[in-house]
Symmetry: C2
Subunit: 222 residues, 2 copies
């Protein structure tokens, strides 16, 4: 039903989860239908940008009638692969790993966290957020016996590359890298998605710097 | 020296931290000068995109000679406000908060984390990653006595809005929201930067779904 276009730009792809998030929120609020301009307004995009984005994926909606929220959300979810039953394992059940296990809703993104791996004796053997923490020595065995799509890297930065290589050798399709270190797997077509906290903080730094400059130029310093 | 253009698009602003990160890496590798096309290649952008982006900020570099890595990095850092001595406090020293305190290099983004606030008796009074954990009852007093630019929200989602309001009332310019809940402060010009882990995971979900489709259509299923 959904037309997929493999030439879709990275920028559009990056916006799809935002669409999905906003549509989920609209659905929760009971909104049934929304125009491109209203959806754009809530997302900080122009109506024409929205129409262009959605056109890349085969065009939903009907000129002048807007989009049906539930249908558009479902279609975008489909494109994002939410119904594919993706699975994940995590390596590194330190503070960040535990925070994700306890609080992050993997299910909302269509993922199931099968297990976490660590070396600490006080952590291995526990169950956190519904998933067992196993010893990392058993990683290869686990990957051989289970279909695992994504490996989360929440190890210390210095271990990122070597642990990533073990996950890739074990056959994962994607690496979700929280280590703030660069990882690369030449010769493999594994997909790496980095979470760069610093990019987010620097964007905030820019925004508050602009705000501060505007205040300084707009009124007398106190 | 740097020309600032307040009409710069959000997309360009979002790319600036990535430029900064890549240039930092290039500098570390000893690269002195880089062309738009080489910089583009390492960042997954076209040379013309790079020239356009940097033109927004007054244009660095010289046609045919490329960019001086250290100069460009410094200029972009300046635009991002890295040298402004921004300060931050964190509310919520749970797993995620502690992970950030212990592992995130605030200094690399030009920030100093002054303190964290929590309520747990086993956490309040400790020093983590160089910053003290204080009782959240003292938050208002601390904000009154210290210049705090950014408040980090690492509290449970249900507390996000109310704690955010206390930070905004205390005068912070920006909120760095890790709670995965929406916060809004009508009537205030505070800048909110959300870290949406799910957007990142859904992007990865899309990429591995595409990869899987390509494999299925390109070769016989095993």
């Amino acid at each position: 039903m959904t037309k997929r276009n493999s030439k879709v730009s990275t920028a559009v792809i990056r916006r799809l989860p935002r669409y999905y998030r906003h549509l989920t929120e609209l659905q929760r609020k009971g909104v049934v239908r929304i125009s491109s301009s209203a959806l754009g307004k809530s997302m900080g995009l122009t109506a024409s940008q929205i129409r262009q984005d959605l056109f890349c994926f085969g065009g939903f909606g009907q000129q002048g009638y807007g989009y049906k929220v539930d249908l558009l959300r479902e279609e975008i979810g489909e494109i994002l692969g939410i119904s594919r039953g993706h699975t994940a394992v995590m390596v590194g059940a330190g503070n960040l790993g535990r925070a994700l296990m306890e609080n992050f809703e993997f299910g909302s993104s269509g993922f199931r966290l099968l297990a976490a791996f660590d070396v600490r004796p006080d952590t291995v053997g526990r169950t956190i957020g519904g998933a067992p923490v196993l010893h990392v020595d058993g990683l290869e065995d686990f990957l051989a016996k289970n279909q695992v799509d994504v490996g989360l890297l929440t190890v210390p930065r210095c271990a990122a590359q070597s642990v990533g290589e073990r996950l890739v050798a074990g056959g994962v399709a994607g690496i979700w890298n929280f280590t703030n270190g660069e990882v690369s797997f030449p010769g493999s077509d594994v997909v790496v998605e980095n979470v760069h906290f610093s990019d987010s903080l620097l964007t905030l730094s820019y925004m508050i710097s602009q705000r501060s400059d505007a205040q300084t130029s707009g009124k007398e310093p106190q």
